[in-house]
Amino acid sequence: MSGRLSQGLYHAVLWLVALVFFAPVFWIVLSSFKTASQILAVPPLLVFRPTLANYARLFAQPAFEHHFFNSVVLSVLAVLIAVAVSFLAAFAFSRFRPGATNFLMFLLLSIRMLPGSAAILPVYLMYVAFGWKDSYIWMTLFYAMFSIPFSVWILKGFIDGVSPRFDETGIVNGASWLSIIARLTFPQVLPGVVAALIFNFIFVWNEFLFNYIIGGINTANIPVLLATNLSHGGGIDWTFLSSLTTVYILPPIIAVYFFQRFLLVGMTFGTVRGEV
């Protein structure tokens, strides 16, 4: 078999794999251009006259804008805060290795270990007692907390990979710790920062349970809107579901497309800093 043919075959297989995984998502996207009975049609419709009515209806809902805004604000603010604090902590863990580093790193991971419905329970009672329910600030901080463990882990890996000689050079030249952290270390671990941002963004973006329980009218995000308005007249509103989902997966998909390289490098947890 000629090399070119085998390579062509190889590439075809790769694309096939990608398309198989994408197929269910594609089906949702396709459905968003159908009418309700077209979505349920048997045999399934692949060729049809697409309609934009579902989108027109979606964007006409005043609730959509509000919830979308909430999704954006909550997820962006939460991951920014989380990555900022995590970066500082990761720097300290990596550079100074305080006595309890390993234990603290483990404790941080334990936040992730608790099943959502277990974690939400005491948090809910706490939010009730302090009157924090349905507040932007406390909601954001809560999401930030959930994003911290992963960020610290990833960033510590990256900072470990940055030679401490940079710090020393900086110090010899009279730089403060602040500028060492911000100007010397930060740019070198950018892939880790971006990976942490994106991963946590995807999590907060799609989070339903916490928002549903400790959020409320003010802070409800799109997944909550999705779950709430899913039913219509007792049935499932398939057109609403498919069009809203399509709109909602666009931002994370775009992020994955543009920051793919960072994601791949990011997941090496700092062991590689070049191309992947």
Binding site: V25, F96, F142, G161, F208, V276
Partner: protein
């Protein structure tokens, strides 16, 4: 990489006056840097966990209108004496084992497949499509999969029927429902393991691979001795993260089967949610949550122990 290990080198700290200098001192700085994370940790993890622990010793139902009554270990004994708990737990363990196992193997294989695909036309688009399942809101994914799985309206059964087979009742047959839910989890999270596998492969030094090729190692040997040796850390981390998350699986179950038919897809996270936010039985659900937390910690300790061993070996070498 060896440089990172030797970071214990004392720095000459310069004398400066004022608050900034104080915070900048080597003894103080780490504490200052860690402080914000610690604060988050105390407010949203320590306090709620202690709260949870405390509640677990009380009989307390929000809807009973009665104040909490201290009941010692009653909640724990009644959970552990309930056969259903053990069924739910073992079902969950099987789910985690199968889900993480399949996702890891499939992720690794696909990772190897995509490893040398630099010249693939539209590689970035292809990878984005491959990673897409990860970003779909679980609420939407669960509901739509219910449609895809529907024997009457679903595309999957239409396919099966047009091939001349009897329709499969994916979510309503107690024997199939578990696998059907598992398959959706695999669809959603294999891409994550592909990502981890690609990262792991990227961490393998090219020079060693070339050396292996020159030494005429077999494919399997190369995989075991070179790739796995270097990529183990990242892969293990991926498995750890997936294990923790699979143990918590709830959204998909909630939207697809609600734990049914019967108890076929009842995973502990679902039981817990129900006990806490349908029954509002706060005492009993806290106790269950504490049990689950302990199990998760046991998972993680085991994993980290393995990881840490590797780190120490590396440090010794």
């Amino acid at each position: 990489m060896s440089l990172a290990v030797s970071s214990r080198r004392p720095f000459a700290s310069r004398h400066r006056s004022g608050l900034i200098a104080f915070f900048g001192r080597r003894e103080v700085l780490p504490a200052v840097l860690i402080c914000p994370v610690l604060l988050f940790f105390i407010v949203w993890d320590t306090i709620p966990t202690l709260w949870l622990l405390g509640l677990s010793f009380y009989r307390f139902s929000l809807t009973s209108g009665r104040p909490p009554i201290f009941s010692g270990l009653y909640n724990y004994t009644s959970i552990l004496n309930d056969a259903e708990t053990w069924f739910d737990l073992s079902r969950t363990f099987i789910f985690v084992l199968l889900a993480v196992g399949i996702e890891t193997v499939a992720g690794m294989l696909l990772g190897l497949l995509f490893w040398r695909s630099d010249r693939l036309p539209g590689r970035r688009v292809a990878l984005t499509l491959l990673f897409a399942p990860m970003v779909v809101t679980p609420v939407a994914a669960g509901t739509f999969w219910r449609l895809i799985y529907d024997p009457t309206f679903g595309i999957l059964d239409w396919f099966i029927r047009s091939l001349g087979f009897a329709p499969v009742r994916f979510l309503s047959d107690a024997n199939v429902a578990f696998s059907a839910v598992l398959a959706v989890d695999v669809w959603m999270w294999t891409p994550f393991m592909v990502l981890m596998a690609l990262a792991a492969l990227a961490s393998v030094p090219k020079a060693e691979l070339e050396a292996a090729e020159i030494d005429r190692l077999t494919w399997l040997q190369r995989f075991r001795l070179v790739i796995l040796y270097h990529g183990k850390f990242i892969l293990m981390l991926g498995i750890l993260l997936r294990t923790i998350d699979a143990f918590k699986t709830m959204d998909l179950i909630f939207d697809m089967t609600y734990g049914g038919p019967g108890t076929a897809t009842e995973l502990v996270a679902m039981t817990l949610f129900r006990r806490a936010f349908e029954d509002f039985n706060m005492g009993s659900s806290s106790a269950l949550a504490v049990i689950l937390l302990l199990i998760s910690i046991a998972f993680t300790v085991t994993f980290l122990y393995v990881l840490y061993l590797r780190e120490r070996k590396a440090a010794l070498a």
